[in-house]
Subunit: 699 residues, 2 copies
């Protein structure tokens, strides 16, 4: 009996418990009519966004399907590729959709539960996050299982070793659909959410001087919708892709390293154990009526720690039983990734929480105006790249050495890849902790808009504030795992090109030396692409936000009685503007990711592509960490001032800090996280179009 | 007769004409007593800064000399190294010193000449720049000549081929002194100038509302001093180092490629031709009484174009005569660098001049406040990295292919290196165009402070405004040449380590594949170091600027009658604060550049170091371009508004634009340009300490 059976078992368990948690959430009442109305508005907005997005994405997927289908006719890609592309996209989209569905149904319920106790609120919000986490890992393992069984049946006549080789190398290309979907979800959602947020803040807070989440602000619903489409659906699709990608590339590299069928199943087994550990861990998250951040954070972390420990113990026996005592080093590679994921989270918290010096220094710099807030924030973000780089560096080195890479290079590469699986094995619960944030944020907004009593708002504020911290650590985790996944993809890329060359009798040998101009130029371009890409996403937010500014100003001018609270603003128009502009900008951005490997490949050949991927991964990782952390730190520096430091709300310092926060919005929620997907998508595009590049390259 | 004789000839010509231009400048009168007084204050401040800086640098040089001397006793470095280190530092420091001396003596003379005509002013300012340019190239060639003749005499007993090998490989390490000096000058000057500028603006323009260069502002002299110490002395030392480095590494790579003694002299001959072309070109710079930017820019460019064309024609005959028709490809490599330098200048102008859309879009975004100014500016800077990367990429590819690199790898590397010599061959005149800017800027300040008539100020404003454009293009040129020089260093690094291994019977083979974890981790760290380094330089500016803010506020509060112009501010105290704080921050920053290759080398070995250098060069290039261009664009967006657009001076838009400009100051004048030196210094440290790393590395 093949060990691959772990995948459907893990998948089923994840989906069953997701259903169970959904059931518990829907048992909670939605609260007052006003709350229901607001929640319904948010749901409507979110659905409208997704509907339009899926339409746009649909066209893109049809075109790509046709291209892949034609390429398949000429044997440039596997015949399964176009179909796998579709399923990847559909499953990735589905995880985003379900996650958002549950989040938009949990926000008012969280607010309402907070009228009872802090723990009730926490449980609802966290359950919503858990559903998201489990849906993502469940659907990922489902997709993997289905395709494995189809391919295993199709190639059934082959001897087992050969069959596994062809299955894994075929399946590794399957992430492309998920990657593309993730790009649309993350970037589209990111532009939406930050356009709404920046637009709402610029007019509401800065010009008119009404508080955040004030129901008179026409962009306030769009802002709440944005939290869901960007931070829930986008983040889910992103991590779905990392998860699938890291498992598949590890399987492929296991085969390349000459491991047995059971060895190739290790990534899947570890992932399945992670699912179970996450499910059990999720039950540990409970809190007392203590609204301090420390108490709440430790309540949330209990679940993650428990899961991590379970995985750390179980993986030992998995590796020991399958690979034997002599390959126990692989276990340390897994452990390495697991620990690295947690460590990156810690350091991200250090740099972005106002309990520590870096963020406090930004708050302090507000005394000399907005310019110094920006300078200090950028400086903190840049400095914060050191720790993650060193952690990832150590993780790569240790997992390579532990898997005996200096003697057996392919085993070493497998070690690096499996460490990314180790990092992502806690995804079920890590994503739960992360996706909890937007729900709490929305709950706070609803409590404010529905005028709930102050002790309820205090509870939702405590939950929301915690959500900021978990969102920042979640982003660190997403970036770290994306970097490791991208590296595994580069290794898989090399193997798959070599195999293509052998199969098709094309004479080609890699020369991946950094002194090879093809590699060097590719790397330069890769680094540049991450900057150009960030530029596009940021300016897209800027353009969309300025449209919102115009619209909000118009409504305040034209709708009589809006300022006095006597008339309702037109929420839908802001949602509509955000939706339209985010979709409009997406196509060019998506094309960068897809066309750059092709163009570089055609001109500089497969070596150039490898350089491109390495350059993009290295520079992208550093840039993404910097942007996410600067953004998080600015956000919390502003909150630090709002908590009564440096003059508090409304002071000159606060105004300067708001400028920092506004700059940070696209940094942390659009451009930074989008880079993760960019580097993964570029890698997978390179693998999928490898044969085209191999055939047609100039140099 | 050896062709190396071109070097002392070029050097002498450069120095003679530098003396000639100095003579013409000193013939011009310094103007009114008030002007003399202001100019004297600036000179005093600049001298005070340099004096203190050279004291700090002196200690650093003594320590490094001792370390190198000890290492030389154990044969870890050449016995000449410690002495060469000193001469490099002294010559580099001397070019900065002389350039600054002449600049601080030309500012009031330029202002005074502007009372006569625009052309007189232009001639004085440009002559000052030309002295700087010629001193830099003259001293560089002098240093090279002296050491060549010493080494040639010392190794005189060896056969010529062997002798040239040992001379070139020894000399390539000589840039370390120049590099270190450049770091101190560029970073120290950069911190000084921007602390003064930011501090002066924050209180003067934003808080109190007095115009730029207002004599009541206590930081105004420090600001003017800063232009000289940062943009003249710093830029000069930076380019001195690129110039020496590119010539030496090309010579070494010529020998590695198996070229003859005459072949190895080609870089020196091209450089010497460049000196002569620059001298002649400098006489072409003249203007009519037309203050439009277009007319002035074309006046300045005439000189550069003339020199470039002369070099393009002459190099053909040099290559053809020395290497013969079959190696004429090398000529195209030179041409490639020459053209790339000009092209980068064009694109830099496009992104940073307010004649074009990018900068205009920043100005427009000021309508929605400072946050959108920052977002748009960063976005423009990030997008602006595309063109230089593609230009450098094409330049690398073409110069490699033209020199037949795909068949003869070492010739290809020589091609890349010689293209950097081609780019830098116009340095004499390019630097003149660049160093002209701060003089014109100072002249404008003096005209303002001395209350010269408005038509004079109009002329100095026209010259100053042009200086902004040439400063931006100069920075692009400095970054482009630094990237190519750094690449040449990496290639030289590999050769020199291999030679060390052979000579000392150490078994070592490079594996520079990007999939080698040593290389990969090194590259990650390299990219991170550029960010961490920028963070340090930016926060140093922030800290120093806030001290200035406190001091300026204090003076306005404590000195009675200052605001009414009845009392004099205490200029010297601001100069003193800037000097002290810039020196205090320098040591840590310098240590990053020196220690990171050592630490990475000890842990990850020579492969890791190569990865580090590649990662730092690639990521640093992109980051430096982004920071310089964002900064330049913010500056000119502000100027665009001041010219009467979007409400003009004093409007809300203007205030927002000032925030952008303030953020841009450390970007474009401290962090961005400092990265150039960082990447070159790291490379040269790696070469110098190559033997230490080779002996003691862990992995």
């Amino acid at each position: 009996m093949s060990l691959i059976v772990f995948a459907p078992v893990g998948a089923s368990l994840a989906l069953i418990f997701a259903a169970f948690y959904t059931y518990t959430i829907f048992k909670v009442d939605e609260g007052t009519d006003r709350m229901k109305y607001i929640a319904e508005s948010i749901r409507k907005g979110a659905n409208a966004f997704l509907k339009r997005q899926y339409k746009g994405v649909g066209i893109f997927f049809i075109i790509m399907f046709i291209i892949l289908f034609i390429l398949a006719q000429f044997n440039f890609v596997s015949i399964f590729m176009p179909f796998a592309f579709l399923t990847g996209g559909i499953f990735s989209g589905l995880s985003g959709y379900l996650g958002m569905k549950i989040a938009t149904n949990s926000n008012s319920r969280t607010a309402n539960a907070c009228t009872k106790s802090l723990n009730s609120g926490l449980r609802v919000a966290f359950s919503s996050g858990t559903v998201m986490g489990l849906v993502v890992v469940g659907l990922a393992l489902t997709d993997l299982s289905i395709w494995y069984f189809i391919l295993n049946w199709y190639y059934g006549a082959m001897p087992i070793d050969e069959r596994i080789t062809i299955i894994t190398t075929t399946m590794v290309t399957f992430s492309m659909g998920a990657s593309s979907m993730a790009l649309f979800a993350r970037v589209g959602g990111g532009i939406f959410t930050k356009a709404a947020d920046v637009g709402a803040d610029l007019v509401g807070k800065v010009e008119i001087g009404i508080p955040e989440d004030d129901p008179r602000n026409p962009a306030v619903i769009a802002d709440n919708v944005g939290d869901n489409v960007g931070d829930v659906a986008g983040m889910g699709a992103d991590l779905y892709e990392s998860y699938v990608g890291s498992i598949l590339s590890s399987c492929a590299l296991a085969v390349a390293a000459g491991l047995s069928v059971n060895g190739a199943a290790i990534p899947i087994i570890i992932a399945s154990i992670g699912v179970m550990a996450s499910i059990v861990g999720s039950f540990f998250v409970k809190s007392k009526e203590d609204v301090s951040q420390k108490a709440l954070l430790s309540a949330l972390r209990r679940g993650t720690y428990f899961s991590a420990i379970v995985i750390a113990i179980a993986s030992y026996f998995v590796v020991n039983n399958i690979l034997g005592r002599e390959n126990i080093g692989v276990y340390f590679s897994i452990l390495c990734g697991l620990v690295a994921g947690l460590l990156i989270g810690f350091f991200t918290e250090y740099y972005t929480s106002d309990n520590y010096k870096p963020t406090q220094s930004i708050a302090q710099s507000s005394e000399t105006g907005p310019a110094t807030v920006i300078i200090t924030g950028l400086s903190v973000g840049m400095k914060s790249t050191a720790a993650p780089v060193i952690i990832i560096g150590c993780s790569i080195l240790i997992s390579f050495v532990a898997s005996d890479g200096f003697n057996n290079f392919n085993m070493g590469l497998f070690g690096i890849a499996i460490s990314s699986v180790g990092m992502l094995s806690t995804l079920g619960i890590t994503l739960a902790t992360d996706a909890y944030g937007p729900v709490a944020d929305n709950a706070g907004g609803i409590a404010e808009m529905a005028g709930l009593p102050s002790e309820v708002r205090e509870r939702t504020d405590a939950l929301d504030s915690l959500g900021n911290t978990t969102a920042a650590t979640g982003k660190g985790f997403a970036i770290g795992s994306a970097a490791l996944t991208a590296l595994a993809f580069i290794a898989a890329y090399k193997n798959s090109i070599e195999q293509m060359a052998t199969t098709n009798n094309i004479a080609f040998n890699f020369d991946l030396s950094i002194l090879n101009p093809q590699v060097l130029i590719g790397a330069f371009i890769g680094a540049m692409v991450t900057f150009a890409f960030s530029s596009c996403t940021m300016s897209a937010v800027g353009r969309a936000a300025s449209k919102i500014v115009v619209e909000v100003r118009r409504q305040f001018k034209e709708i009589k009685g809006l300022m006095d609270g006597k008339a309702e603003p037109d929420y839908a128009s802001c949602v509509d503007i955000c939706t339209k502009s985010s979709q409009k900008e997406l196509l060019v951005i998506a094309l960068i990711a897809i066309i750059s490997p092709l163009v570089v490949g055609i001109i500089l050949g497969p070596n150039g592509v490898a350089g491109l991927l390495a350059g993009a991964t290295i520079s992208g990782f550093v840039l993404a960490v910097m942007m996410s952390n600067s953004g998080g730190a600015w956000d919390n520096a502003k909150k630090h001032i709002e908590a009564g430091n440096f003059g508090g709300k409304g002071s000159e310092c606060h105004k300067s800090a708001v400028v920092g926060d506004t700059v940070g919005d696209p940094f942390k929620d659009t451009s930074g996280p989008a880079i993760n997907i960019l580097i993964k998508l570029m890698s997978i595009v390179s693998i999928v179009f490898g044969m085209v590049i191999l055939t047609f390259h100039i140099f």
